[in-house]
Symmetry: D2
Subunit: 269 residues, 4 copies
């Protein structure tokens, strides 16, 4: 069997192949599935011969054994981030979006990530800086490194990521942007002063406001300016002609986001 990794972002050209990851949608649910000839996908809506998907266009409609209609989509980075196995709370997509914008991420940039976790944010960052940028990600817990490597591999992004098992405070790499997903980011600011280029963007993801206020205060003692703290609330709507209302269930909190920009103070004359 030829194994085809997910090719992120290169559009929706081509067709489903043996080994491709697909996102199957149906009955208000979704599943991330690897297409393997000879395997069967089971769901409460009936089963599906995965081999029968090979050669179909992404977006195709198929039918289960019990006659239910499913759609076979190409997963986005967003889908992967939400579906890949994880051992920790991941950074939410709405928060990732603002991080990318505030850091000015784009192709060609070098990013240092402290706190790889399950690799969700790593995938997101790697996708944005490829093909000629790179992510250096640090994690002290071996089992997380292992999980993150698998997840980044499934996303087809291994070429753009260097995994370091160790303390990010020891990092010695020059980068354009820095993301801290650690509980004590204020302890990483000497490293930030050392590794981040002038004008480089700083972002940190924190569950509590107390961490945010401690970090904001510490940033002002180091070489940073334009320090800000945000939270984003996402509200889903049930939009229907004549009956629109916000969903009654809502996520009340994901994280506080702290941003700053690195400056190069003049040496004392």
């Amino acid at each position: 069997m030829a194994f085809k990794e997910y090719k992120p972002g290169y559009g929706f050209l081509g067709v489903i192949e043996d080994g491709s990851y697909v996102l199957i949608l149906g009955g208000g649910k979704s599943w991330l599935v690897k297409v393997v000839r000879g395997r069967t996908f089971h769901t409460h809506l009936g089963y599906l011969d995965l081999g029968s998907l090979i050669g179909l266009d992404y977006g195709s409609e198929v039918e289960t054994s019990s006659g239910h209609r499913l759609y076979v989509m190409k997963p986005t980075i967003f889908d992967l981030v939400m579906k890949l196995p994880r051992k920790t709370q991941i950074v939410y997509p709405k928060d990732m979006g603002l991080i990318a914008l505030k850091l000015g991420l784009g192709p060609g940039m070098k990013v240092l990530e402290a706190g790889t976790g399950s690799g969700a944010l790593t995938i997101f960052l790697a996708n944005l800086v490829r093909p000629d940028g790179h992510v250096y990600t640090y994690e002290v817990r071996r089992e997380f490194i292992r999980l993150a490597k698998r997840n980044v591999g499934k996303a087809g992004l291994s070429d753009y990521v260097t995994f370091v098992e160790g303390d990010a405070r020891d990092a010695d790499v020059e980068v354009d942007a820095l993301v801290l997903d650690v509980p004590d980011p204020w302890d990483f600011l000497e490293m930030a002063d050392r590794c981040l280029k002038g004008s480089g963007g700083f972002a940190s993801v924190l569950p509590t406001i107390d961490q945010a206020e401690k970090l904001v205060s510490a940033l002002k003692e180091h070489s940073f300016t334009d320090v800000s703290c945000y939270e984003l609330l996402a509200r889903r709507w049930e939009a229907r002609i004549g009956m629109s209302r916000p969903s009654s269930r809502m996520v009340g909190h994901t994280a506080f986001l702290v941003f700053a920009r690195k400056v190069l103070p003049r040496p004392p004359s």
Copy 2:
């Protein structure tokens, strides 16, 4: 004078050159300025000889004529989007971030934008799909096309954008993602059916909930699945040791965001 366009995203390598755009920060304010030898930048904090910036690293601290400290940063796409001249309400960065994630944008993708406006969203999209992707943007109002071209040029992204003065409903290009920033998106769904590849992402930005409910309803009549409607609320915090509180001023509303995915229904047998 050698004219150097802004090079988006290729990190913060190099130094400020004659012709570079810089973001000057100071006194809680910021200005987007083009560095031109011989010109002077005037602010309430004193003036600055722009020629003196040439050769400095991005992030450098400089002093005005009256002794105030300023920082000279490399502008991010976010900064450009907020600072470039505009004639219309632009899509807010927090909303752009979610659009990028839901559409699965990344290098190599082809995107169709209906409603170029001042080009803010165009810049954002072009930055994400370069170097080998492309944005096709449609606008019926000539003066907007002109402004948007100038803005995209300043952002150094002209190579990745095709401007079409005309009605996007006549578009005939195959794309991986579609963004509608028009008041009547339900009228663009035949075009969406025609131009969007299977599994391609659909996004629309709408000021009123009535437009959102009309669009959601129309999408369900066309070849789309996974239709959703969101709004994002961004809350800025004043984080200070022992005195943290949300800012009392807040933007209460920017836009409703409608998302969907294109499917390929089976032809009638």
Copy 3:
């Protein structure tokens, strides 16, 4: 057994009597219980002889059969509203609070309520206008009238409420304030014009924004001014030294609230 109804609001004087309603707190849960000599209260924290509570002060700590600590509180109107049996979605306390303020409710006022439902809002209104005000509440569904009467009785507020089984559009009573908890409030505006005194407050509780916009539009065609529409979002915090964050679960939507004030246009001369 002497039956003692709940006496709302007259402070916390006196002690728990045979027949009193109490709110029992323990293990993060709460129960509304009627104290009856000889009965036993069972919970996952053990059981409690209810007779043993008679003569205790409200707020007392007691112990269950298995040694768990419980507190026996006097229920507030808020507690009753949340705990009494209901067949319908009730108006949320946060929304009730704003309704009371916008209508200027206080002792002595006459209020008309259309849509008694389970009587939760009726209890709230009656508590605010007693001892010399009154609530006239209309409901077309007999089983709701029956439930609401029982609930208002348990709250000790029957003297302040007149229940009418019938269509509120036929009401012929002069009132100081009007609350509509019906799906089609725009059909009740002729009645509002007839029953509401000049300067009287109007409030309506609506699940969808479409209803709100239809009502706002209709109010402007009738004798009303100062028309407004609000929604309230309540966010609970987990406040702990050094670890404060908003709760991750949140109610995303309860109702849209529409307010207005009755005016007396000058008769044509």
Copy 4:
């Protein structure tokens, strides 16, 4: 001239008299005005002979000298709270509503308020506990006591309020509910233990989350249970047929609200 104080809450019976306070509405604005025969009210919409209002029903439409239409309403407690002169940030109505509900306020209750300020919250509390309840309010700053007395007098509620110039920590009065509008509420908990009856409600209004977390922690060390912390976000909507959207301006923060209930721990045996 007979001076008629505002009679809160006793409905809208009767007519405008010499000495009455009225709320004049017009052109999207509102003014709290005392009707005095012989005086003139000036606005950008023209002027109005106040004497001409005497004998009119509340809610009446009148015309200014320049032909603009105004409405003359009876002010609610809400209107008074928003319009009376103040020297401090007042508690917002939405927050007052939740405080009233969580404390179970109603006629007959005795309430202690620490931090009278301009008397806005005092007016709100007094209106809810009359005619047979009472508010004891403490304030150390003499100029605030003076302003608050004037404001409570204008609201016609002086009979229900005792003003104490002094430190609320020295209070020695038994009450059913306690409201702390002071910056250091944790220092008032011994007083709370002493003055608040068993089962009595506790509320505190705090601008920063750090104060809230410090208070929540301190309450758990004292005789309190059911400790909670909330914030309320009010969102105004521009509801119009086919064009509804939230207002773009919004108040992002008013206060954190901390609630608890007093318990009576068993004496050591």
